[in-house]
């Protein structure tokens, strides 16, 4: 592992989430439909996509977290 790789990891996970959450908060502040609302409308209209995302999320949880066992 390298510092550059770890830098990208930190920027990609909390960094990307931070910007998306900031946009969501800003839209809520301006009394406009936040990103989450648009996403929810889209995903409720396409529930199979939400199901796929949930499955991918669960698979990633198992892969990344449950993999931490014996080094």
């Amino acid at each position: 592992m390298t510092k550059i790789g770890f830098f990208i990891f930190v920027a990609a996970v909390p960094g990307l989430l931070w910007f998306v959450a900031l946009f969501d908060w800003y839209m809520t502040l301006r009394r406009k439909a936040p990103l989450g609302h648009h996403l929810q409308v889209f995903l409720l209209a396409h529930p199979w996509l939400a199901a796929v995302l949930a499955v991918v999320y669960a698979a990633m949880l198992a892969h990344f977290f449950l993999h931490i066992d014996h080094g």
């Binding site: 995903l43 529930p47 931490i68």
Partner: protein
């Protein structure tokens, strides 16, 4: 909107603002640890090889996902009930569709990299898992907080409370 929609909006702002502050603090902490820490000795740290850490991280993520749904009730209250679904509303949201597609392409590339890295032994290139393990080894509490917030945001976005059924989303 219902009469208490404004209160719901304020609570939602506080919750989202709190998540923003915590995420921002974790971002700075992460960069700080990258600069001052030694990432080459992650595997030697105690927490990296103790099994409860991974299970705790997974459990905290699932709890966060459920909490995200509860936060979604604030949004539901703000909009006066279940979201109104119609094809026109969805059709006008093409930007969200494109953004989702971009995200899925990004995720696919990451999964491709992860698969490639796992198949090749010796840790060259290092799989993303090793970075997750290193972060968990460095500070399990911060990692669990990050996993919780990730779960809250995802639960809030993709597990929205709705009276709709997945097999008949257009019926009211």
């Amino acid at each position: 909107m219902r009469a208490h929609a404004e209160t719901s909006r304020k609570v939602e702002l506080v919750v989202l603002g709190g998540l923003l502050l915590i995420l921002g603090a974790m971002l700075f902490y992460g960069f700080f640890r990258v600069i001052v820490g030694d990432v080459t000795h992650c595997g030697e740290k105690r927490f990296a090889t103790v099994w409860p850490t991974g299970v705790e991280l997974a459990a905290v993520s699932v709890v966060g996902f459920v909490v995200g749904r509860l936060v979604g009730y604030l949004r539901k209250s703000r909009y006066g009930g279940p979201l109104v679904l119609n094809r026109a509303a969805v059709g006008s949201d093409a930007v969200v569709g494109w953004a989702l597609m971009g995200f899925l392409i990004f995720a696919t590339v990451l999964l491709g990299y992860e698969t490639f890295a796992v198949v090749h032994p010796g840790g060259d290139p290092p799989p993303i898992t090793s970075y997750v393990r290193c972060a968990a080894a460095d500070n399990p509490w911060v990692s669990e907080l990050a996993a919780f917030i990730l779960g809250v945001l995802l639960g809030n976005w993709i597990w929205y409370p709705s009276s709709k059924r997945p097999w008949r989303p257009w019926k009211s």
